[in-house]
């Protein structure tokens, strides 16, 4: 089908200095965990998006010198010719699809802890990083300024050699150029501090020198936070924000605009529970609206809707649609619009699981919606192409249509299995997502910063996408309102049975802190609840509620938010040092804490319950169990741990004779039914099994390519040959 003409504007080329961007889809720099040291990952991840129609793809932040080393986190690096060699693989891959390759040259100043290089970063003033531990920069004198500017130029020249088309001088998120510009970082009194012109001088000179060095061959871009959201002590849009754009406008070919700084960059990579699509418009939208630039502008805001994209361009907000997360969630977003089937777009849900892995430092990026993200090279997975399964004649029964079951059935359908039946006990598909997506609201009031507690409604996109796909697959039948017994499964007539029956919360207080149940914990009582019972309703909830949060992710705090928003007096107890630790990694924590604080939720860290009685919970301090505390409450919500719904699996496996008699050749278990886990991991599990359903032993994942150094004489074949299954991404065309 041809694309709808209303989207034509998204496919108009635009000039970026010496380069032409073929359309308006631009993957802004974002981390994936590849850097320069996993060149296959880097090239194939970005390359997949190029195949999917994105006009330009950038590296993540790319360090220009060992003294800007972000280890433990993974950045790209262009320190020497060997880095050039590895990054060139990405450039070559992108050029095969007529996409432009961008590189984000980065010097972190105090925010670069240099844990691998053991250098010392330099900075405009000697103030340590506001989020690293004890990283003091060395004060830059005039010679240091020149030295670091030379590092930018050398890196830019190497970038050109690698084949990059767009070279960034990266300041946004408060790295060195912006540190000079912002009085929050810059306390200097020389010609690089004080007045606006002085503070802008370092960045301006960098741009001039990089432009002089490579500007004839490469487009020069700058990423700039037009407002760091710190008020007058830093960059504000109406002040230095637009002033700086005007001041150096002649030196750039492209503006890449953001808001916020690195210490709370969830204001930029806004999670859906606090920020809606295109949420940066009030800031970044002012630059073109106020006529402050003559250059193309790219901006972001988790934009997944093609109609929003058209509105953004036609209203003059931006010239180019930038995306990090939407491009991870759907590498083929542009192609789906171009080919006239935008309903197939796998929309980002804004959970920030992708970001969490970079924040943790080290692991490859993952995506809740797109299980193939990060697996393009090492597992050879393609998000849109699927090989017909070698055992496609087998009938498959998937029991349960939660995240794992839906994904598994969808991939099996796309792999052309002859018959896939998904049988779900509930009245709709989606499993736990159906109630989890109702969490996270509070009272709808403004938070203390930008954004409000919007809840997890966008997480329902997990179900929406799969519902649309399953509806289209003629070989997949979904049957609802049907709970299968062991006998039903045995007699179903399937050769392959996949158990995806999910999990449930412990009802007796069993927990990871004590590895034991809690005395008096029993959610069969009408005043004790599991989290899902809070959402589903049916039990009266008293005015004083205690939520026991032993999980460390969103569940306990979301329940607290919901109940406090309804006017309850909520006490949140956790054995850990803070509630919802993982939400630091997803960048949800700062806004969450503002909301909990505003709602008056009382948080008790390092605290665990030993006994629950009607009207009272008995607690102790985990470092000094003799220190007791008592909470007088009416209702208790136990968010301690989950357990698998695995009875069906074990009953089936226990009777091998019955399986044989009924013609069942294999029984597998996926997702929470196998072991409770985060939603992206459950989806991955379902996807993985379906991708490998015709492997010699589908229960065991096949090996993947590990891009580590092999000792001695090696070739690329030594890596690629590790991929034993038939990859969906052709390995042809890589620079060997």
């Amino acid at each position: 089908m041809a694309r709808d003409p209303k989207y034509d504007i998204l496919f108009e080329p635009i000039q970026l200095g010496p380069k032409t961007l073929k359309n308006r889809f631009y993957q802004v720099p974002h981390c994936i965990g590849a850097g320069s040291e996993k060149p296959g990952f880097q090239a194939y991840h970005r390359g997949m998006k190029a195949e999917g129609g994105w006009g330009a793809l950038c590296t993540e932040y790319c360090s220009i010198h060992p003294e800007s080393d972000d280890t433990h986190r993974v950045s790209a690096r262009i320190w020497d010719d060997d880095d050039v060699r590895n990054l060139a693989v990405m450039c070559d891959r992108l050029h095969e699809f007529d996409a432009l390759a961008g590189i984000e040259l980065w010097y972190g100043g105090p925010h670069a802890p240099c844990m691998e290089s053991r250098h010392n970063p330099r900075g405009p003033s000697q103030i340590p990083s506001d989020f690293e531990v004890n990283t003091h920069p060395r004060y830059m004198d005039r010679d240091d300024v020149k030295l670091v500017q030379k590092m930018y130029v050398d890196a830019a020249v190497r970038a050109r050699e690698a084949g990059f088309d767009i070279v960034y001088v990266y300041g946004a998120h408060s790295y060195l150029p912006l540190q000079f510009l912002s009085p929050f970082y810059n306390k200097r009194t020389d010609e690089y501090g004080g007045s606006f012109e002085n503070r802008a001088r370092f960045w301006k000179e960098c741009l001039e020198q990089v432009r002089e060095a490579v500007g004839d061959d490469c487009a020069i871009a700058s990423r700039f936070a037009v407002d760091t959201l710190y008020g007058p002590s830093a960059i504000e849009i109406g002040e230095d924000g637009v002033r700086f754009v005007e001041y150096v406008d002649d030196l750039v070919d492209l503006w890449d605009l953001t808001v916020g700084d690195i210490a709370e960059w969830g204001q930029n990579a806004g999670p859906s529970r606090f920020f809606e699509e295109n949420h940066e418009k009030p800031y970044t939208g002012q630059v073109k609206a106020g006529d402050h630039t003559n250059k193309p502008v790219v901006g972001v805001g988790r934009i997944t809707n093609p109609d929003t994209m058209v509105a953004i361009i036609s209203s003059g907000q931006f010239d180019i649609i930038g995306a990090a997360r939407p491009s991870i969630s759907d590498p083929f977003l542009p192609k789906k619009i171009e080919e006239g089937h935008p309903e197939d777009i796998r929309e980002c849900i804004g959970c920030n699981q992708c970001i969490s892995r970079w924040e943790i430092g080290g692991p490859p990026m993952i995506c809740t919606q797109n299980a193939t993200a990060g697996e393009e090279y090492r597992r050879g997975w393609h998000p849109e192409k699927f090989h017909p399964a070698g055992n496609r004649d087998k009938g498959v029964l998937v029991v349960g249509a939660g995240p794992a079951g839906m994904e598994c059935a969808m991939v099996l359908g796309k792999r052309d299995m002859s018959a896939v039946h998904v049988v779900e006990a509930d009245k709709e598909i989606g499993g736990c997502v159906n109630w989890i997506s109702q969490l996270g609201h509070s009272d709808g009031q403004e938070n203390l910063a930008r954004g409000t507690a919007r809840g997890l409604g966008e997480w329902k996109r997990i179900v929406n996408y799969r519902q649309i796909q399953l509806d289209k697959l003629k070989n997949v039948d979904v049957h609802l309102n049907s709970r299968l017994s062991t006998q039903d499964v045995l007699e179903y007539g399937a050769e392959i049975v996949i158990i995806a029956t999910g999990g449930h919360f412990a009802t007796n207080g069993l927990n990871p802190a004590t590895h034991d149940v809690i005395e008096g914990a029993d959610t069969s009582l009408d005043w004790q609840l599991t989290p899902d019972e809070v959402v589903r309703g049916g039990k009266q909830i008293g005015d004083r509620v205690l939520v026991l949060e032993n999980e460390g992710y969103y569940m306990g705090v979301s329940i607290a938010q919901k109940l406090a928003g309804e006017g309850k007096d909520v006490t949140l107890v956790t054995q850990m040092g803070d509630v919802a630790n993982y939400m630091e990694f997803t960048l949800e924590a700062p806004m969450l804490h503002r909301d909990l604080h505003r709602l008056g939720v009382k948080i008790h860290p390092y605290t665990m319950l030993e006994k629950i009685e009607p009207g009272a919970c008995h607690a102790y301090n985990v470092w000094n169990p003799a220190h007791k505390e008592q909470f007088e409450v009416d209702t208790v919500v136990l968010c301690t741990q989950r357990l698998s719904n695995d009875e069906l699996y074990h009953e089936l496996r226990a009777d091998k004779e019955a399986l044989e008699r009924e013609g069942i050749e294999a029984v597998y278990m996926i997702g929470d039914a196998s072991a409770p886990r985060m939603i992206p991991d459950a989806i991955f599990d379902g996807h993985r099994l379906a991708r490998e359903i015709d492997s010699p032993n589908p229960a065991m994942p096949l090996p993947f390519i590990r891009e580590r150094r092999l000792w001695g004489n090696v070739s690329n074949e030594d890596y690629d040959s590790r991929l034993l299954n038939t990859p969906d991404v052709t390995m042809a065309g890589v620079a060997k």
Binding site: M1, K6, N305, D307, T308, V310, A311, I312, S314, G395, L397, A419, H421, D477, H479, N481, S482, D488, E491, Y492, G493, A494
Partner: protein, 263 residues
């Protein structure tokens, strides 16, 4: 107890489709075929009656080309005992009265205790076939049945009809009879993979017109109407298409409403 259930494979159109140029109709490339939703409920009613009696036979019948076989196989998989398909090229584009005439000939051959039709088909939505079939057969008929209680002793059924305004009409009907069944009367079952496989072995018989004592002349005599053309409606005036983002559209709608209310 023998029950005949006439079923129909209905057309589901893609979002975008073309009309045929040489004859009235839609380009088949843009059509998916599936069993009529109402027929799921009439079949389920028949299966439940048979199960309640502990004996009997459920025969599904369809007037249709090869596309109809998939729907009949699905009925067999759910539990129908036999399937009959009647087809002749002369039936292409047949109207409900013609289809009813053909079905009547089949039902007469089977002489069942009960005929259960769907209230209507989701593609043509004429609601005529069941009624016309009852007329051909001279059977008592009750339309839009939403509940059914069969009493084997008296050979009669107590049925509830759905009327406008939320009213329910309660009737007793002596068998043999024809009922048209409304959606929601029950929860139709689905077939598991084993039943689907086993349905391939169940009898599905193709009948030609002559085998049911009909010919083309009989079809022509039965026909009540003929489709002369199919065309999209003329584009109307006065509609304003609103474009842009959701908030742009919402703003414009709010503007229009305010404007009209002020006027």
């Amino acid at each position: 107890m023998k029950i005949v259930v006439p079923v129909k494979e209905v057309a589901v159109l893609d979002e975008e489709f073309e009309l045929l140029e040489d004859r009235p109709g839609v380009d088949p490339d843009a059509i998916d075929w599936e069993l009529n939703e109402w027929d799921d409920f009439s079949l389920e009613t028949a299966l439940q009656l048979r199960e309640a009696q502990g004996e009997g036979e459920v025969v599904v019948v369809s007037v249709g080309d090869e596309e109809a076989e998939e729907g009949l196989r699905a009925c067999l998989a759910k539990g129908a005992d036999r399937a009959l398909r009647v087809w002749d090229d002369a039936l292409e584009g047949a109207d409900p009265l013609t289809v009813a005439r053909v079905l009547a000939a089949v039902v007469e051959r089977e002489s069942p205790d009960l005929v259960l039709c769907g209230v209507q088909s989701s593609d043509a939505v004429q609601g005529a076939t069941g009624v016309a079939l009852a007329a051909h057969l001279g059977l008592p008929r009750v339309a839009v049945v939403k509940a059914l209680d069969y009493d084997a002793g008296s050979g009669s059924a107590t049925v509830e009809r759905e009327l406008e305004g939320g009213l329910t009409e309660l009737l007793r009907v002596r068998l043999p009879a024809l009922l048209t069944i409304q959606t929601g009367i029950n929860e139709p079952r689905y077939a598991n993979l084993r039943a689907i496989k086993q349905a391939k072995e169940k009898p599905l018989e193709l009948l030609e017109l002559g085998e049911v004592g009909l010919d083309e002349a009989a079809l022509e005599a039965a026909a009540g109407s003929r489709t002369r053309s199919v065309a999209p409606p003329e584009a109307g005036g006065g509609a304003e298409m609103l474009g842009g983002s959701a908030s742009d559209v919402a703003e414009r709608i709010a503007g229009i409403v305010k404007e009209r209310m002020a006027g």
